[in-house]
């Protein structure tokens, strides 16, 4: 059974259709790389799946169970099982690094504080920030903030991790530290959908690559298919432009 099965997904900002019939099949442990030009709807797919922009049509099945985005309990279930990491980190500015990671387990999921704190420490060690527990987001570099955001998402013990251009806001020298963290997660078998412009990275970690343009899924296949032998002209144009840079 597919871990996440998206069929005919549509989403709108007001009257404007921004996703048009997206199909995406995600198996357990798959790492999906979503690529495409800016404004193609890649991030919107992630925002729709997590319910920030509820789909206007289509179906999303999580482990075979349909998600009803008009039903608060159904959306809560999705958010218990899927976590998202945002391009702009979205760390809570009023909380320390440790509190950012423990606030949801403790305050929302009502887990034991000591246990949650111990786990958060392990996660922050894992992303290389074990010495920054008491710091606030605005005291960290972009790369460090993004790694805290990843640790915060992992503290929710998600089955699926959505990563929305997690390196796009970072200085080039900070990109590798975030990519290393994602590489480890991919190696551990975490199901992930990664929106990124880091083509070399997508080629390396993605089990399948999907190319989007104008809110549509144009083409999908293995990294080799998409990068070396794309079938669609738009994919070819995009890949050749990207690779020229």
């Amino acid at each position: 059974m597919l871990h996440l099965d998206i069929t005919g997904l549509e989403a709108r900002y007001g009257a404007m259709k921004v996703l048009d019939g997206i199909d995406l099949k995600v198996g357990r442990g798959d790492v999906i790389g979503l690529i495409g030009p800016s404004g193609s709807g890649k991030s919107t797919v992630l925002r729709s799946v997590i319910g920030l922009l509820p789909p206007s049509a289509g179906t999303v099945l999580l482990d075979g169970t349909p998600i009803d985005y008009r039903n608060a309990a159904s959306v809560r279930t999705v958010r218990d099982r899927i976590a998202i990491v945002f391009q702009q980190y979205n760390l809570f500015q009023n909380m320390s690094v440790l509190d950012n990671v423990t606030v949801t387990p403790v305050k929302i999921r009502k887990r034991n504080r000591d246990e949650a704190t111990a786990e958060a420490r392990v996660l922050l060690e894992k992303v290389g920030l074990g010495d920054k527990l008491g710091r606030y987001p605005d005291e960290l570099s972009g790369g460090q903030q993004q790694r805290v955001a990843i640790a915060r998402a992992l503290a929710l013990k998600p089955e699926i991790l959505l990563l929305d251009e997690v390196t796009a806001a970072l200085d080039p020298e900070l990109v590798s530290e975030v990519l290393d963290t994602i590489r480890v997660l991919a190696g551990e078998g975490m199901t992930m959908i990664i929106v990124s412009h880091e083509m070399a990275f997508i080629r390396e970690v993605a089990t399948r690559v999907c190319f989007m343009a104008d809110g549509r899924m144009i083409e999908s296949g293995s990294a080799t298919d998409i990068f070396d032998n794309p079938g669609e002209q738009r994919t070819k144009d995009f890949i050749s432009k990207i690779l020229r840079h």
Partner: protein, 231 residues
Amino acid sequence: MLATILEELPRFLTYYNLLFLAQAALATLALSAFGCIVGVIVGFVLAFVRLTPSRLWLPLRWFAFLYTEIFRRVPFLVTLMLCFFAFQATGYDVPLAVVGAVTVALIASAFIGEIIRGGLVSVHRNQWDAAATMNFTLPQTIRHVVLPQAWKIILPPAFGFFVMFIKDTALASQIGVIELTYAGKVLNNKGFSAALSFGSILLIYFAISYPLARFGKHLENRLAASRHHRT
């Protein structure tokens, strides 16, 4: 003028005059405190209602919106008169202080509600989104994430409003509530010079509002300290 004040001062500083002024100051303080406390509580409720996304809350959202917009636009004196005549129409003998208290509560709730709402929505959308994706409810989002970041936006205008509001309660004298301004008029009518009567009132207003402003500043420093300035 100073000679007149000095000459009147022994007659002015009698036990009964001071008691009268103290009672009037207490009335002003009570009206202001009641308005501010009820205003903060109801203001939070109004702000919260206006931020709810659910369709089920739509009628309440509209009520909160209309309430806020109407009572922020109607002059204090008009609201006071409306309350005065509304209570009169009920046929019950409602004390004037109650009419004054209801009026200040109505007005303060609308103003403070808008100040709180403005502060909450000023917190970046990405903070709300992050909380939503981690299953925070609206009250949890406001309590744990948004409000701690919104204090620095809410507190300065809120305390500015409180200080202005203390002065506005003077209008309650128009329906006969014996508060500070009314006391000034009474003392003036008793033959004391306007400089002494209203000068004393001015000092008492200052004595009430200055500590409040300082308290606001203190709260601002405590609750709204920017992380950028931490040492």
